[in-house]
Amino acid sequence: MKGLYDNEMKLEFACKSNNEAFARISVAAFASQLDPTIEELADIKTAVSEAVTNCIIHAYDGIEEGIIKVEAKLKENTVYIEISDTGKGIENIEIAKRPLYTSKPNLERSGMGFTIMESFMDEVIVESIVNLGTKVSMKKSIKKDQTLEKKDEKVSQEKESSEKEGEFYDI
């Protein structure tokens, strides 16, 4: 299939809390094709975990029959992740996104879910229709060959300085 993306995958699983680890590890394994750093991979894992947890706690409200859909796509050095449910939807996305806001204070939730997603990913878009469902689309670019470039810089700098030293001794 010749699509817009270099690679793509789709997962559907039951809305059970023990699937949270499965979801984030699967997406991380898929994204690892882009050769991310451990930190970038941890960011992706955390963001996916937050989104899936939202589906379980809020969208389906503990009902285990719901289905959570996770799609991941790769294009060049960017990973696109979509997490969607067909649950109860979010009435006011702006309020839900607010740091420390939680609609379930009795559950000891921190209200940091969307805040963490937004700071760990490059872009987060939330679309929701009440009683139809919610879709969270996230995007993160993996910075390529950072360490290699740095190494090259170092090597060239060292070369320059040694050349200079050489000149100095010639004189």
Partner: protein
Amino acid sequence: MNVNFQIETKTLVLQLTEEIDHHTTKEIRRIADYEIERYMPRKVVFDFHHVTFMDSAGIGMLLGRYKMIKMLGGSLELSHVNQNVHKILEMSGVLKICPIQEYSKTN
């Protein structure tokens, strides 16, 4: 989770051994609350040495335990926090109320 209580210093060390998310916090919460009520420690230390992953559910769990320990007159500390967990703790402001004992050397 491994539990260790030092009688002389009245310190309860709870060594977390799993990834911390919404699913696992239920069990962590249950054990932690049981042990805290049993020993009534002066200090509780959450040891993150074996924790490779934590999301915002962990923050909620820590804040909940912090309130409980504070109410019983004790203090809460964290230890061996790795870089990824540190990032989330810092962002959520948990570090302002729970000091970190020492940093994990590996990552």
